[in-house]
């Protein structure tokens, strides 16, 4: 993100103060649910549901809810499954999309427009339209409750192909010409010269794919109902059914599901935000 474009003298103190007040209010609104999740998770059920007097912070930070949740659910397995799903989805997306995007963005050949049409078509229809047939296919292959089943809809990505195609289209022509003169064939040009230049877009696609896989609820719920292959999101849905109104337990589970991604986000903030900005594309 480049510098500020509004460095004009008129930025009076009063105006900035109003901006700050508004931004602080919004920030509080964003933070309160997370803080409430944290505080409730360390309360007892009676404390969480006692209104008078109303305690914001737990009187005593008790780990009871975490003990119950961790005793009932194998979080190690949930984390592992979620990580595996993320890794394979990201690998498949980046690998297939980067090749397809190079072909669509830099080469000219018969059938290219038709292929690009397929990419656009996939992006324009609501993704639920794929779900029943995809489930039937996975189930016919006997692959429900497997990692393959979980990854299945993400083996290729229209969105990623579109995103990386834009990255390739913005690269200068002379690079390829120079590579050609040096005797590189198309594969070598792609692999050694062009692909490395789209690294930031690949990172963007990776982050986007990872977030999507982490958040996905419907597909894992359908295709991997068995405990051993559950990911975090559908496990949370199940816990809600089990603990119903035991809010400390529910909040402890939510916290356990959210914290790893939040920590990763806080460490790689810059990549996250730039990556997400890239998904808006160069318009």
């Amino acid at each position: 993100m480049s510098g500020h474009k509004m460095n004009r003298k008129k930025g009076t103190i009063g105006k900035l103060a109003t901006s700050h007040i508004f931004l602080i209010l919004v920030s509080i609104t964003m933070l309160v649910p997370f803080l409430w999740m944290l505080f409730t998770a360390f309360k007892s059920n009676t404390e969480a549901t006692s209104m008078n007097p109303f305690y914001i912070l737990p009187r005593e930070w008790r780990p009871d809810a975490f003990v119950t949740v961790l005793g009932n659910y194998d979080f190690g397995r949930l984390y592992l499954n979620t990580i595996l799903l993320i890794i394979f989805r990201v690998l498949c997306a980046v690998l297939t999309a980067t090749m397809a995007a190079y072909a669509l963005g830099r080469l000219n050949f018969f059938g290219k427009n038709l292929a690009f049409g397929l990419v656009l078509l996939q992006m324009m229809v609501p993704s639920q339209i794929f779900v029943i047939p995809q489930y039937v296919m996975v189930s016919k292959m006997g692959m429900t409750n497997t990692l393959f089943g979980l990854v299945f809809p993400g083996l290729v990505t229209a969105f990623g192909t579109f995103l990386l195609r834009q990255a390739y289209m913005s690269l200068p022509r002379d690079l390829e010409e120079a590579a050609k003169l040096d005797g590189c064939n198309i594969g070598q040009t792609f692999f050694y010269i062009m692909a490395p230049l789209t690294k930031s877009s690949m990172v963007a696609l990776g982050i986007f794919t990872a977030l999507f896989a982490y958040k996905d609820l419907m597909w894992p719920m359908i295709v991997a109902p068995a405990k051993e292959w559950s990911t975090l999101a559908p496990a949370l849905a199940k816990m809600q059914g089990q603990f119903t109104t035991k809010y400390p337990e529910l909040m402890a589970a939510s916290l356990l599901a959210c914290v790893p991604m939040i920590v990763i986000y806080l460490i790689f903030q810059k990549q996250f935000i730039q990556g997400i900005a890239t998904t808006g594309g160069k318009l």
Binding site: M1, H4, M6, N7, R8, G11, S19, H20, F22, L23, V26, S27, V32, P33, T40, T49, S50, M51, F54, L95, T96, M99, A100, A103, F109, L118, V119, L121, M124, V125, P126, I129, I132, P133, V136, M137, V156, T157, I186, F190, M218, I222, A233, P234, L236, A237, Y247, M251, A253, S254, A257, C258, M261, Y265, I273, I276, A277, T279, G280, G281
Partner: protein, 299 residues
């Protein structure tokens, strides 16, 4: 290398064709199997009555559609999805535009603000829905406690959809803001300087310079958010129990699609619902594409 240029060009074309298709093959094959064939298969299913275990589908023509368009539950779900979209998209887009404009100033702590406002984007919607359900709790919820009221946020049919939209807006604000901020940073400073010389105020500058210049990004966000908002599912699935009295007035088309297809195993009817969603989505995309010619400015 004493080759004729013609044969060189032909060789190059041949080589581009072979490499191009080699690169495209995984994606194209994948798209055909995972997406294109399923579109037709789902449409095919929507014209059939589902037999047991997906076998023995019986062709029934438009019967599913005729039934769906008279089914109060589905009509209400259609209304719910549309209302949700009409609340979530305009409010979140307007708010995030304001936020992005504020963040585009030389202002302290902007990284801190940005980090916080984007935070909901990295939280699992299932967890987000659970904490909001807790915040919205009628008896013990934080929100009612602060307001000093006993509002049934998620079981009153009149407000439950608004509550779902609040969660949607809260969740997406940061994402939209980042996209708008990226667009704002592309706006050249000279425009503002010139406007300043002409004595234009901040508000005039925002409406006359900023908005037109980032209109392509606004259009992009509108199109993608409308499509996504029409598919609302996670929050509703997590918030609405089957016994909730507001269920009928809150459940979305995708929620019903899930229920019919994977709980009641009525894939034919489920497919019909998702095809109806497809049609609604296409109508909005076409309308927006038609409308953008009037307000989106490309340079």
């Amino acid at each position: 290398m004493q080759r004729k240029p013609i044969s060189y060009r032909r060789q190059r074309r041949r080589s581009e064709f072979l490499w191009g298709w080699a690169f495209l093959l995984p994606t194209v094959v994948g798209l055909i199997i995972l997406n294109i064939y399923p579109i037709f298969y789902t449409i095919y299913l929507s014209f059939h009555k589902s037999g047991d275990f997906g076998r023995n589908n019986i062709f029934v023509g438009f019967q599913n559609y005729a039934k769906a368009l008279k089914d109060m539950q589905i009509l209400k779900a259609m209304r719910n999805s549309l209302l949700y979209m009409l609340m979530e998209v305009p409010i979140s887009v307007a708010l995030s535009l304001v936020l992005a404009a504020l963040m585009n100033q030389k202002i302290r702590f902007r990284t801190v603000y940005r980090t916080i406002i984007f935070l909901p984007m990295v939280a699992a919607p299932a967890a987000v829905a659970m904490v909001w359900r807790w915040l919205f709790n009628t008896e013990f919820g934080l929100i009612n406690h602060i307001l000093g009221k006993k509002i049934s946020w998620i079981s009153d049919p009149k407000i439950s959809l608004v509550s779902i939209a609040i969660i949607g807006i809260w969740s997406i604000l940061g994402y939209n803001m980042i996209l708008f901020l990226a667009a704002l940073q592309e706006v050249p400073n000279d425009y503002y300087e010139a406007a300043e010389l002409d004595g234009a105020g901040k508000a005039v500058q925002f409406f006359r310079i900023t908005l037109p210049l980032i209109s392509p990004m606004i259009y992009f966000v509108l199109v993608t958010r409308v499509i996504a908002a029409l598919q609302v599912f996670d929050t509703i699935y997590m918030m609405m129990d089957r016994t909730n009295p507001a269920l009928q007035d809150t459940q979305s088309l995708v929620f019903l699609f899930y229920r019919y297809s994977f709980v009641e195993n009525n894939r034919g009817y489920g497919s019909t619902i998702v095809v109806l969603l497809l049609l609604i989505t296409l109508i909005f995309t076409v309308l927006q594409n038609y409308g953008q010619k009037k307000w989106v400015i490309y340079d």
